[in-house]
Subunit: 309 residues, 2 copies
C-alpha cells in the first residue's frame, strides 16, 4: 500500500496467511570479497541467502528490505550493479523491495537483507517435526560451493576461468539459487515434516533437525549426491569429495524429511519444479547421526564449517 | 508461532490489520562512536530510531530483527550490554525480538534493526495527506539532540557530566524515546492527516510532508518549542537556539498535521500519553515553507543536517 519513500512501508497481509520473517547479514572480508565476484553477484547472494531461509520454511517470499553500508572507495557503477543484482533476483521471485537504508561505511561493505514471506496458516515447516521412520531428502548436488570457495581462495577468478567445472563450482558459491518453488510446494502439499536449508553443511544442518526433532538419523554414504565438479576437481585440491559434500556450507539446498507414504509425492513435486531430489537416509529413534558405508555405521559429527572464511 | 532458532520466524497477523515494515542502519564512525555512549545506549538507539518510523506511520510496533557485525576488539561484556539495551527497549514497548543475524566485522560495529508493526486496516498515516488549512503540530522540545552531538564532538562525556542541561542534551542525542503511544493514538483516532518523525531536522522533514502532500506551509518562529538545554547552553557553543531547533536532526519527535476541528482532540491525546504537543503553523495552498517572525515572512530552506557526523 505504501512503498519506499515514507517512514515505513505498509503492506496488507493475505487472508489466512502466516507471515515468515528473517534476515541475513553479509560483511565484506567475512562473507565475501569484492575482488571475487561481480557486484551483481554480491547483491544476488545477499538476497538469495535470505530467500533461502523463507524456502526452508516452505513459504512464498513477498517483500524485502535492504540495508547497505558503502565504503567511500566503491564507485557509483559498483553500487548500481550491486543493486541490480538484488532487484533482478527479487523480480525473478516476485519479491517487492519495500524499503531499506543506505549509509556510508568507514570500513567494509555491509549488506543486511530482511525478507517477509507468507504461507497458508499453520503450514510453515520448522526444523522440529521429523518423526521416526521419515525419509531424509536433499535437493541438488553437494560440495560445489565449498569447492568454489577453495578455488577462489587459491586465486581462481570466475571471469577469466575457462574450465567449465571450475567455473560451475565458483558460481555455485558466488550466486546460489534459493529453492523457493520446491520449498513452497512441499509445504503446501503438507509432505515435509521438517526442513532446513544447507548453510553450514549437510552434517551440521541435519544435526539441527535432529536436535529440534528429538530424533536420530542414519544416512547412506553411497547415495549422497555429489556435484560433478567436486568429483572432477577435488583430487587436484587434495580434498575428499564426500567430505566436501557432507561438510561444505553455503549450499542453500533444502534438506527435509517426509513420511514414507509421501515419497512418491516428493518425486512428483521435484519433477514439476525441475529440482533434483535425492533420498539420503532415514530418521531413527534415539539421538545422533550415523553414516553407513555399505552397512558399516560410523558416527558423523556436525563438522560443517560455520560460514566464515 | 516460531521464534529465534529456526530458519525464519513465523508470526500470525492480527485480523484486519495492515503491516508496517521498516529498517534502520547504524554504522560506527558514521552514526555513533563507542566512546560517546554506554553499549546499552547504542543498542537502545539502534532500535529506537526504527521504532520511531513505526510511530510516524501511527502503528504499533510488534516484532523486531537485529543484525549486528561485531569487531574483534569489542568485549563480551560490551556485546551483552548492547543487547540488553535493545531487549530492554523492546520489552518497554511490547516488541518481540523474533530473529536476527550476528557476524564478525573486520571494521566498524554495524547494527541494522528491522521492525514489523501493524495498524488497523487503512489507518496508516503517510507523509502525503496534509490539506490546505491543516494545523501543524510537533511533539516535545527541539534542538537538544543537535546540541548534545555538538557537546560530544567537543569532548563532553555523558558519564562524567555534572551539569544537568548538558547531560540532558547528550542523553537526548544518545538515547531518544520513540513516540509510539501518541503516534498510534493519533492514527487510531483518525486525527493525523500526515505524519513524519524528525530525523533530518524540522525544516527538512516538514519539506518532506509538503512535497508529498503538494502543499506549502507557514510556521511561526515565536512558538517553535525549543528545549531548555538549548536556550541555556547555545550561547556557550555560539549556536543560535532557533537554528538548532529548526535544523537539528535525530530528534525522533513527531511532526504531524491535523484538520482544524481535530485540534482539541490532539491536545486530549497529548495529555493521555504525557507527551507535549505544540501548534507551530498551518498548511497553505501552493508550495514552499515560510517562517513568520512577528508577521514578517521569510523562506525556510530544508537545511536540516542529513544524519551524518
Amino acid at each position: 500500500l505504501v512503498g519506499i519513500g515514507d517512514d515505513a512501508a505498509v503492506i496488507r497481509p493475505r487472508d489466512g496467511a502466516d507471515l515468515i520473517a528473517c534476515c541475513d547479514l553479509m560483511v565484506e572480508g567475512v562473507h565475501f570479497r569484492t575482488e571475487w565476484a561481480r557486484p551483481s553477484m554480491i547483491g544476488h547472494k545477499a538476497l538469495a541467502v535470505t530467500l533461502s531461509d523463507v524456502a526452508a520454511m516452505g513459504g512464498s517470499a513477498r517483500f524485502a528490505m535492504i540495508s547497505i553500508a558503502l565504503p567511500a572507495r566503491v564507485s557509483l557503477d559498483f553500487t548500481d550493479e550491486l543493486f541490480s543484482g538484488i532487484f533482478d533476483l527479487a523480480a525473478a521471485f516476485g519479491v517487492t523491495i519495500i524499503g531499506g537504508d543506505t549509509s556510508s561505511s568507514i570500513g567494509p561493505l555491509f549488506i543486511d537483507t530482511s525478507v517477509i514471506g507468507d504461507c497458508p496458516s499453520g503450514r510453515a515447516v520448522t526444523r522440529g517435526g521429523a518423526q521416526t521412520g521419515d525419509t531424509i531428502f536433499v535437493t541438488g548436488r553437494l560440495g560445489a560451493s565449498a569447492l568454489g570457495l577453495l578455488l577462489l581462495e587459491k586465486g581462481s577468478s570466475v571471469e577469466s576461468e575457462a574450465d567449465v567445472m571450475r567455473h560451475q563450482a565458483m558460481i555455485k558459491h558466488l550466486a546460489p539459487q534459493p529453492r523457493l518453488e520446491l520449498g513452497r510446494a512441499l509445504a503446501e502439499a503438507g509432505v515435509a515434516t521438517a526442513m532446513i536449508d544447507i548453510s553450514d553443511g549437510l552434517s551440521t544442518d541435519l544435526w539441527h533437525i535432529l536436535e529440534e526433532s528429538g530424533r536420530g538419523a542414519v544416512i547412506r554414504a553411497d547415495v549422497i549426491p555429489i556435484d560433478e565438479s567436486v568429483i572432477s576437481l577435488s583430487g587436484d585440491l587434495q580434498s575428499d569429495p564426500l567430505s566436501l559434500a557432507l561438510g561444505g556450507g553455503e549450499e542453500y539446498e533444502l534438506l527435509f524429511t517426509t513420511r514414507g507414504e509421501d515419497r512418491a509425492r516428493v518425486f512428483e513435486l521435484s519433477k514439476e519444479s525441475g529440482v533434483l531430489v535425492t533420498e539420503i537416509g532415514e530418521i531413527v529413534s534415539g539421538e545422533g547421526l550415523q553414516i553407513s558405508f555399505g552397512g558399516k555405521l560410523e558416527a558423523l559429527a556436525p563438522s560443517g564449517y560455520e560460514h566464515k572464511m
